[in-house]
Amino acid sequence: MVKQEEKQLLKALKKGDVKSFEFMFRFYYEPLLGYAQKIIKVEAEAEELTQELFLKLWRNRKTLSIKHSLAAYLYRSIYNSCMQWLKREKLSRQYQKDNIKQEVSEINPDEILKYEELNRKFFDLMEALPERRRLIFKMSRFQGLKYKEIAEMLSISLKTVEANMSKTLQYLRENLREYRIQ
């Protein structure tokens, strides 16, 4: 996300703000989980590793120091714990060397950077939205409110919310069209 927002989130996390932690969790959980699953291919274990990562993040919130980006930090951490788990699995039961080599080559550190860039572009585009549209989008995607609830809270019609959201999504799609993730 935008450097500014990320800094604020990390600051709040340091102070033990659960809401900020929840935002981080919800934003990165599924992407990280998917990433872990690509590496270790065991869904249940990938879930546990991802959860452990966030728990560690919470436990060490006071002494945390993230130099570059939160996304890079998280992706690198999950990559490391996946690798550790794979090593342990290799020791406890038979695991073909070829398999590990294959998976290591699949994990491209550039993938992390590309995700991060898309991330940043996305947030930049969001900031450029007119205030009202940005608010509605945030309420829908970041607060998980249903369109009906948003309409009620802002005293506007459901159709207005739907129209706003579709315009916003179209705008985002168009502006990220040239952005390719390999």
Partner: protein, 301 residues
């Protein structure tokens, strides 16, 4: 051959477009998916557990320890069961001449005015959080989208999911006032729960003789009973006295009707009752007389 090549190139471009669109939509659309919700609930439970000082260790899986622990747990269970049956299931807090802040089992807080009463269970039911109010209180309800927070008064039912609002439901009168500070509040008559009035931030709702309606804002000192911040602008002394009485749980009376229409312009920022009383008396040359718990104000001779 050329046509085939272009088609092929368009196709792979389309696939690339779809990939990045999918990635984009995924960026935020899974923040509130069922998977993430479940995972977050787990995480939250873990965090709270750690905060309460529970420690997990390998020791607890020792078989000898488990046998002893099992026996101990049975004993504990019995004791707890008996204790639960014997102790009261509900708490009722009553105020007379003072105001009081109460913490509810879900972390919500209630600021109770004088001459009021609130009743609530020791732990909330699984599907809703219900309390019973008589008098006046300001609620700060912790957000829980799965468990409605319901305030029942003699005549009204007020329903929210996570907001802060004021309820005035005096005993014996078929009138309930609800002022919403943040969030969304539902107000209904207990005799007609389906006819729910939705109130938003800043709205002032009224239930009068079974009918709900939104009224214009009742003036900026409506919540002053709790904040102790008053801004009177050419306010009638009658209204001023009424507001002060409500905020400090006192009973000031004006001796003559002519005093009621006097106008006061003054701001009181979190000062004590006596300070305000003296200020008023000084401004209008009034004297105080105590009589049967009341403070009577009259013109100085």
């Amino acid at each position: 051959m050329n046509i085939g090549f272009n088609e092929h190139r368009n196709q792979s471009e389309n696939i690339e477009k779809m990939k990045s669109e999918k990635e984009l939509l995924e960026l935020t659309s899974n923040m509130y998916s069922k998977k993430t919700d479940l995972a977050w609930n787990n995480m939250l439970a873990e965090i709270n557990q750690e905060a309460e000082g529970k420690v997990h260790g390998n020791f607890i899986f020792n078989p000898w320890f488990l046998k002893v622990a099992a026996g101990f747990l049975v004993l504990l269970g019995l004791t707890w069961g008996i204790w639960q049956i014997l102790r009261p299931q509900r708490d009722t807090v009553r105020t007379l001449l003072s105001q009081r802040e109460i913490l509810l089992p879900d972390g919500s807080s209630v600021y109770l005015n004088g001459n009021s009463q609130i009743s609530y269970p020791n732990s909330f039911a699984s599907d809703s959080r219900k309390v019973f109010l008589r008098g006046e209180a300001f609620f700060k309800v912790k957000k829980n989208r799965n468990k409605a927070f319901i305030v029942e008064t003699e005549n009204a039912q007020i329903k929210v999911f996570g907001t802060s609002f004021n309820v005035f439901a005096p005993k014996g009168r078929n009138r309930v006032e609800v002022m919403v500070k943040t969030g969304v509040v539902g107000l209904a008559s207990r005799g007609d729960l389906n006819d729910q009035l939705i109130l938003h931030e800043g709205d002032f709702g009224l239930l009068d003789a079974g009918k709900t309606s939104i009224k214009s804002s009742p003036g900026e000192n409506y919540l002053s009973w709790r904040t102790k911040v008053f801004r009177f602008k050419q306010e009638s002394l009658q209204q001023v006295v009424s507001d002060i009485n409500r905020a400090y749980v006192k009973h000031i009376e004006l001796a003559t009707d002519s005093l009621k229409t006097l106008q006061l312009t003054s701001t009181y920022y979190k000062v004590g009752f006596n300070t305000i009383l003296e200020s008023i008396c000084l401004t209008f040359h009034l004297q105080q007389n105590q009589l049967e718990g009341k403070i009577i104000l009259s013109k100085q001779k």
